[in-house]
Symmetry: C2
Subunit: 362 residues, 2 copies
Amino acid sequence: MTSAGGVDGSPSAVSESNFLRACRRLPATATPIWLMRQAGRHMTAYQDLRQQHSFIHLLTTPELACEITLQPVDRYGLDAGIIFADILTPLEDMGLPLEYTEDRGPVLARPIESRGDIDNLHVPAPDAITPYSLDAIRLASRELHNRNLPLIGFAGGPFTLASYAVEGGSSRDQLKVKALMMSEPDTWHALMTVLSELVGNSLLAQAAAGADALQLFDSWAGILSPADYAELVLPHTKRALEIASAAGVPLIQFGTDTAGILDLMSTAGVDVVGVDWRIDLLRAWELVGPDYAVQGNLDPAALMAPIDQMLARAKSILDSVAGRPGHIFNLGHGVPPNATEDSVSRLVDFVHEHSAVPVPNA
Amino acid sequence: MTSAGGVDGSPSAVSESNFLRACRRLPATATPIWLMRQAGRHMTAYQDLRQQHSFIHLLTTPELACEITLQPVDRYGLDAGIIFADILTPLEDMGLPLEYTEDRGPVLARPIESRGDIDNLHVPAPDAITPYSLDAIRLASRELHNRNLPLIGFAGGPFTLASYAVEGGSSRDQLKVKALMMSEPDTWHALMTVLSELVGNSLLAQAAAGADALQLFDSWAGILSPADYAELVLPHTKRALEIASAAGVPLIQFGTDTAGILDLMSTAGVDVVGVDWRIDLLRAWELVGPDYAVQGNLDPAALMAPIDQMLARAKSILDSVAGRPGHIFNLGHGVPPNATEDSVSRLVDFVHEHSAVPVPNA
């Protein structure tokens, strides 16, 4: 494989990859595609590893995390890898131990309950945050760069981490974290301040270790009213991204249920805004603004549909943005655990073929 | 209490109530307010009844359902009652038996799995759908009309009922129902056709029994992409509302996570569009269009906040629409079960006081 931008494996070949060009809203030879949660449970190769090792062992062993990161890239021909890691593990490095359950993955051993709990937290130096994931990034970025492909690093958004820290795990209505933010604004801002430093430092360290782009998963920010998001979350998201921006790599922000706050999200200091499937992508791009790339937005459930139904929906998304530079194809959320590899493979191939720019005859 | 529009307890006094005037986008003496799930678990009076009776007994005993309907209206001075009923019970009358669990309320005993299951369903005559709820409506509307207040009847939207019928109960990702709608469009449309007739007939019967307005709770429609909503759900919602429109009473449609489909929802044939808290109310009104009233949209979590924080958020909503005729104040979803009666009471009083139109000096 050769690249227009440089010698294979060279920094410029990676920098001129379709994914990184789309992050900068430059034309690509085909619409780049990667999929949230592309590595992991839906893949047989992952399940085979999981038979032999615990989830936490896979997460904390750099060679294995690297292998899992590469699995979907090599299997499907995706345009980027995303490091196999977990958004919660950085919490441990600032003093919030996790428990690893078989079903739910990591949950908080002792959720935040008072101001005192927050005062006990400390923000580690960048390279002391999930050092095993940083090692995995070093390995995986080298492998991907050899393929002229970029690696995405990521962190949970400050709000999403705060929600886990207060609720103790996943929560449907998020009433505890909302009660805290509305009842004790000072306590809330203290918590969000340490979390935004943690997140910013983690992203910075990932870029230093070799990540070519960084995604903030503020997955749950859409549970808030626009006014509450603007006042109680956005300033801290901005701070985290400001710290990360020193790395000089593209920044992506993603959340679900965000149709009412997309215009606010794009002011956080990012290059790319991830969009879930609940809004038309072109309308979302209007809300986000022309100065940003967008990433999305196929309903993950389409992967469970017959191939023709899935591809019709993918085609409709591609046709709606009509090859406008700055579109990165993705799902509107993660790959469902029981999606088939055949469906994923067909989707990736279709996106590449349908969006490929014809090469002029020589 | 007297009304501008007619003698107490007369049909015109009810018709000129602030709630029904707002449904028609006519000026009101104060912004009307009612709250989704205003009757039920958060109220001590309800809990007292619940100590003595099962949930299903309360639901199916007209005198008790009437009593529960009136409890919040009398306690808080709300502008409308909504019949104490359950969106799932009509399913039973078309051949889908429910099981009543202590925690989750009714769930489906035998979820829909095949086309054969759908062919076995039948749509009952309007007055054969939840006859106990129709009796409760007869009792409650008489009581409310004596107070010059209207009663709201309701049904689940065809999609929300289909989701329950296929998933068997509440579901986070709705992957089963999405798989069905995407995989077997004919089966899907057959299911939605019987459900829209069921829903339309149920609403019609409720109006005939005395309901002064009808709300369609298509609570889960926001889980779909706009394109899927438009093609696979909206035509059936329209059909249900078309049947209900023969009653000649205001129709309200509500869902959550709908910021991306509000413009589609308003084409379904309703007078009022309910808006959740994830979008600014004024922006939502722009998407819905000027020919519709809107209902919403305080984050229910605000009821768990200190009173001043809750009222600041309510004030911001009222101030944003600035008394424009056609705003009905409500939460963006139901009252949380552990909200306090004091919070609810303070909210209702504040909305009335802050929005009251000054009476000119005599």
